[in-house]
């Protein structure tokens, strides 16, 4: 069945299709509709899940960790300040190897207070050990929730979906709605032997001496590395079932491109429109969307970018004292293997609109500019 729904509700429908058993969340703009619809679905019996109302995001993720440790499929959603408040428990979920799925709606962090989009909330959690997938459309969002549970349960690591505030969370699009019966052959009900249980007890979160902690961390990294193949395999299988696949990355008109713009989230769609215009003008340019940010798709990114003469990375975030975060990652993917100039652009912070004009300015600057790659190019900042 097809429906016109908002991005936030695409998350809710993805959860509905995934036989989730426990949901817990705390309201925060622009995430609120995700859990409002889920709480209605729970109340109406449309999904057989328990909805736990809590007193903060810290408690929300903690309750979900508890549910997951008890062996059931669990979900939460949040945004900005809420995600930051979850930070301690984000680590906990990884250390305990719990396959939780979380949707984060990218929102700028305060102060000053802002409800509009940028990526600093999710990207400041990049080193906690959650997989991170940046979505671009409502269909992709719903489908990625379903994929995320399968990936998480296979590699025993939690997965975070990331959506741009308003540009994705509040935009209405047609979505082919997935039903649980349809999804079950792809994503069977969750069961795990490692759980707290009256008949077969397990313990989570015990003390580890220097003799053992190191190895547990090593295993998390191994699981992350393994997850790269798992994400691809799950995506391929999803394609077989439902006819839609999304990849770790999405190159667009890159084959003979001399310049490639690297993007993420909704900026990717705007960029494609600009690429088309420029191609019409005879300019050899393409774009590369990075969908899966953790684990970072080093090989795939290298393969696409190594054919270009110049790479421009568009970041809607900033690592203060360093550079845009996607820029850092792309640079490390190419390090020592090519001498292609990589130019970093920061734009759209705090929800400032990234229009086709902005993208065109970036593209023109990247093509004309021979400036040292270390320099940050701020686009649209009032000085």
């Amino acid at each position: 069945m097809k429906k016109v729904i908002m991005g936030n509700h695409a998350v809710s429908y993805g959860v509905r299709a995934s036989d989730v058993k426990v949901i817990s969340a705390y309201p925060i703009t622009p995430q609120t509709q995700v859990v409002e619809l889920l709480s209605e679905m729970c109340a109406d019996g449309e999904i057989d899940a328990k909805f736990i109302k809590v007193e903060s995001e810290h408690s929300a993720l903690t309750a979900v960790v508890g549910a997951s440790a008890a062996g059931v499929r669990s979900f939460t959603a949040t945004s900005a300040q809420g995600l930051l408040l979850m930070h301690e428990i984000l680590h906990w979920a990884v250390g305990a190897r719990l396959p939780i799925v979380l949707a984060n709606i990218n929102r700028a962090v305060g102060p000053p207070w802002s409800i509009w989009t940028d990526q600093n909330d999710s990207l400041s959690q990049r080193d906690v050990g959650w997989l991170q997938i940046y979505c671009e459309s409502n269909q992709e969002t719903q489908d990625t929730i379903v994929q995320a549970f399968k990936i998480a349960e296979t590699v025993k690591l939690p997965v975070m979906l990331v959506l741009d505030a308003f540009f994705l969370s509040h935009t209405f699009e047609i979505v082919d709605i997935l039903e649980a019966e349809q999804v079950r052959p792809f994503l069977p009900p969750y069961s795990t032997e490692v759980r707290v249980d009256v008949e077969d007890s397990h313990s989570f979160g015990n003390l580890a001496s220097p003799d053992g902690y190191f190895e547990l961390r090593y295993m998390i990294q191994k699981a992350m590395e393994q997850s790269r193949e798992v994400v691809k395999e799950v995506d391929r299988e999803f394609g077989e079932h439902f006819g839609r696949s999304y990849g770790l990355i999405q190159p667009y008109r890159c084959d003979d491109a001399e310049t490639i713009l690297v993007t993420s989230g909704t900026v990717a769609s705007t960029t494609r429109a600009v690429i088309d215009q420029m191609r019409d003008e005879g300019i050899k340019i393409g774009s590369l969307k990075i969908r899966v940010f953790r684990p970072f798709p080093f090989e795939e990114v290298f393969e696409v970018l190594s054919g270009a003469k110049k790479v421009a990375v568009i970041d809607r975030n900033i690592s203060f004292g360093h550079h845009g975060i996607f820029f850092q990652e792309v640079k490390s993917a190419l390090y020592g293997r090519t001498d292609i100039p990589i130019i970093g652009f920061i734009t759209g912070i705090g929800g400032r609109d990234v229009t086709p004009t902005v993208i065109r300015e970036i593209a023109d600057k990247a093509m004309g500019d021979e400036s040292p790659e270390r320099e940050i190019n701020w686009i649209g900042v009032k000085r």
């Binding site: 309201p27 609120t32 859990v35 409002e36 209605e40 909805f51 109302k53 903060s56 300040q81 102060p111």
Partner: protein
């Protein structure tokens, strides 16, 4: 006529509050209170969390810190500790103070630190669109309890009293003159002082609970808020559904920043 605008950041207007929201009445009562107390704007600090209620700090032209959801009291504790001469006033909502910030609330009361806390109780998370809060009455509807709330609510004033606050009062926005007096007393009191203000939210609470009209909500406050003295004379039956307002607790006990100073002084004498 009283000139409110001298205490207001006009540049931040229009305000975000819906028409019929009670929060503006609390703002005005607060302004009258500090004006009558003759507190200079540089001596007062307003610290707020996040929510429609907390937005008050954006509009008052005194020192302000508009902080994070639930943490206003923790920020305010730092401010008061650094400079105990300041009048530190916290404005917060029922969600801000007793859900996400509940821990700070009870511990500040326990320490009896000299803060004045104005809690705008509208029984709901107004700003995020009407989810259940810890003060939502049993059976009331919210966006996260479409069939009625099953959780028992907190009594905000009772919580502060039990945790050790030295001044606790409850007021409402229908009885605005009285509210001003309660705020004045709370600011004057040395110690942790709370004024729980019943401030209706027609948009997120009223509409879901057959009280969509701000007038109905105001009439409800008029008919159900009963001054302490009168309440005490009422029978158990008459008290049903009524809310006790006025000063509920007013006791003398050691204040935290003073105790701290005394301890430091005594150590220095010994040293």
């Amino acid at each position: 006529m009283f000139d409110y605008l001298t205490y207001v950041r006009e540049g931040n207007f229009p305000h975000i509050w819906c028409s019929g929201c009670g929060h503006g009445i609390v703002l005005k009562s607060f302004i009258r209170a500090i004006d009558k107390l003759g507190i200079h704007r540089d001596e007062a600090v307003m610290v707020s969390g996040i929510g429609c209620s907390s937005r008050t700090a954006g509009y008052v032209d005194i020192n302000t810190l508009h902080t994070t959801h639930g943490r206003a009291i923790a920020f305010a504790t730092g401010v008061k500790f650094a400079n105990p001469k300041l009048h530190v006033i916290v404005v917060t909502g029922d969600g801000d103070a007793t859900a996400i910030g509940g821990n700070h609330y009870i511990h500040a009361a326990r320490r009896n630190i000299d803060l004045t806390v104005l809690i705008y109780n509208n029984y709901i998370y107004g700003m995020t669109g009407g989810q259940v809060s810890p003060t939502t009455p049993r059976g009331a509807r919210a966006s996260t309890s479409p069939f009625g709330n099953i959780e028992p609510p907190f009594n905000i004033s009772g919580l502060a009293s039990a945790a050790g606050a030295s001044f606790v009062a409850r007021g409402d926005v229908y009885h605005a003159q009285k509210l001003e007096k309660l705020i004045t007393q709370a600011i004057q009191k040395k110690g942790f002082s709370v004024v729980e203000v019943l401030s209706p939210c027609p948009t997120a609470y009223g509409r879901r609970n057959r009280m969509a009209s701000p007038v109905t909500l105001m009439e409800w406050l008029r008919d159900n808020c009963i001054p302490v003295k009168k309440y005490e004379k009422m029978s158990e039956e008459e008290r049903s559904g009524k809310i006790r307002t006025g000063v509920l607790i007013d006791i003398e006990k050691p204040e935290f920043t003073e105790e701290y100073r005394k301890l430091v002084d005594s150590m220095q004498v010994r040293g």
